[in-house]
Symmetry: C2
Subunit: 365 residues, 2 copies
């Protein structure tokens, strides 16, 4: 047995297909790099609902807590659209994030030279783009209580959600952003709506204080309103290095940033917890794309976002920087050779299936 | 005296300069179209703070309530960045929206053929773009209570905002969207985060029920998550006709949509209240761009967004469709003649000042 444990949660739609391709890389790691993993698999989302009437069972949840890293495919599909709130597919993902305390969601928005044409933006605006969005993932309006229908003293019936942040919740995600920025361009944009929201004022103040603590003098800090950030991402995305923002703004802004690259099927993400006393941090890796039920089961899905999520796993959970580099380079090389799945197909390229794309990456390796 | 009353609130930064150009159009209306307005002027934002230590006085607020329409320039500037919450420039605008009950914010995102090059998006993606975003403007997280710092029973200190919607608040803005869609492409996208937020579930359900009431069978209704909407705006904006969404999502999505056009200095907006028993509705018109303190007072600002906001005033508050058309056509014609302010300058065009741009529009008229 290996001392490296992985839990695979393929989920729904194209999740299982793209996870399957990770297995090929695991084989290569085992044979060629003498690194082996203990791999468990579990159900999440609609798949878990079909089997157990819940979006994730307590046993699977425990497996996730015990694993060194979780590889998550995608959840959701039209057949699950009318399930109750507590058992909807998203509930599985949200429970994983909350119970594993994965507060820092790293969402790179990077362009691939071979795929620039696929973007709706002009080439000069996005060539060489390399933004890292750090989204707070365990607080904010996603989890704040109270929520739901309420009757006010005057009889008014209303529905509410609560956007909520403590100082500690803002500080820890900002530290991740500052630390990561230091390894990159040392520039951080902190994004909120301090002109309208009290949590925005609190966010801005907390980030400013941390920045002034003396530990981050080398970091250039900017504050920006979320609406303006959305605009600036479209106007001139290369002005950004690292963006740190709350759960809801991060959800939207990271998706806008991802779409700028024109390569949604290429983008990985990492969700990290705190480093514990043994130097270990819980982590979950997932592609930015969704479950794409319309093309599921047809071998058409692009497995590269999932494979690059596995590269992030190697980098952030196992400190296997060289293996991560090799995997990322292999993905680049395959693209340069003109090998494409349908979503990133271009004139003159060779159209391949999900499995063929996985094979091509392994050949490169 | 005329029976048409206008309140002008130029505000800060470039607000006064661009409002000034509206006066020229008012002259033309008076002389050539025999339509005259009673115009009052007032202070708002930092300008009001400088004079009265408040973002808007009760007297000015009353003038706004009494006017047939309010023309609003812009508010804010670096010298006001550290003012207290209650007197910050934005508080003036938010008070106007709330007390005038301007629940429906109409934000067109339209491209101008003469300005397509200014967009960061490829021409084919945005040519002919014509989206109308209807943003709910008097509820949601902008106004929900409670908000601010709280100590929970267990001693946790946190900061909160409350996202809040009643059924009536959702219905009335949706009705505006459905009615407007009927005069356009009859397609509405309702946007929320029903997969995460209880207010999102409530929003979706309320919009669906209204759609099924029998009054809107001719409207094609789609539901979309806000993060996906951000993506889709970048991927393929022409799929949209009318978008209806809440206050916060509307703030971000309308800014992203505006930036797609590459012509932020061109985009007007209207904020409308309910129709009262006399068939009159309170209304405020403002350009989408901000106060741009960096170029204020230099005659560099583009007055077209403000002039087009006045065209919306003619259209929605005074039912002067023909005058509105003439004004919009004049703006188009000036652009086609290659006359540009600095923000939309292109090679070979003639660069003009704020006042010259206003004059050029009046000449066309
Ligand atoms: C599936 C959904 C709950 C999720 C979110 O809103 O966080 C997704 O959009 C994401 O960004 O990971
Ligand atoms: C100035 C600010 C309060 C305002 C808002 O957030 O609504 C602005 O961004 C807008 O969109 O009109």
């Amino acid at each position: 047995a290996s001392n490296k444990s992985l839990l695979m949660l393929p989920g729904d739609g194209i999740g299982p297909e793209v996870c399957q391709e990770v297995r090929k890389v695991l084989d290569w790691m085992d044979k060629r790099r003498a690194v082996s993993f203990d791999v468990k698999e579990g159900l999440v989302g609609g798949a878990a609902y079909d089997a157990h009437k819940t979006a994730i069972t307590d046993e699977t949840m425990q497996d996730a807590m015990d694993a060194d890293a979780v590889l998550f495919g995608a959840v959701g599909g039209p057949q699950y659209d009318n399930l109750g709130w507590d058992v909807r597919p998203e509930a599985g993902l949200l429970r994983l994030r909350k119970e594993m305390d994965l507060f820092a969601n790293l969402r790179p928005a990077v362009t691939f030279d071979a795929l620039l044409d696929a973007s709706t933006l002009k080439q000069e605006v996005i060539q060489g783009l390399d933004i890292m969005i750090i989204r707070e993932l365990t607080a904010g309006v996603y989890f704040g209580e109270p929520r739901g229908m309420q009757t006010l003293p005057d009889g008014t019936e209303r529905c509410i959600d609560t956007q909520s942040y403590t100082k500690a919740e803002i500080e820890r995600v900002t530290e991740v952003a500052f630390d990561l920025a230091r390894k990159r361009g040392s520039k951080v944009h902190s994004v909120e709506k301090a002109n309208v929201m009290k949590t925005g004022v609190f966010w801005r103040q907390t980030v400013s204080e941390l920045h002034k603590s003396g530990k981050y003098d080398d970091i250039e800090l900017h504050h920006m309103y979320a609406d303006n950030c959305g605009m600036q991402l479209v106007r001139n995305p290369k002005q950004f290095d690292v963006i740190v923002t709350d759960n809801l703004f991060g959800d939207m802004l990271s998706d806008v940033a991802a779409m700028l690259t024109g390569s949604l099927g290429m983008l990985p993400s990492a969700s990290l917890g705190a480093v514990d006393e043994f130097g270990r941090r819980k982590a979950l890796y997932e592609p930015v794309h969704g479950s794409a039920p319309d093309i599921a089961g047809q071998g058409m899905a692009n497995p590269l976002a999932m494979l690059l999520s596995f590269a992030m796993t190697l980098r952030y959970s196992f400190d296997l920087q060289e293996d991560a580099d090799l995997l990322e380079q292999a993905a680049q090389a395959v693209l340069s050779r003109g090998i494409r799945t349908g979503d990133i197909m271009a004139a003159g390229a060779e159209k391949v299936s999900t499995a063929q794309m996985g094979d091509a990456v392994c050949e490169e390796l």
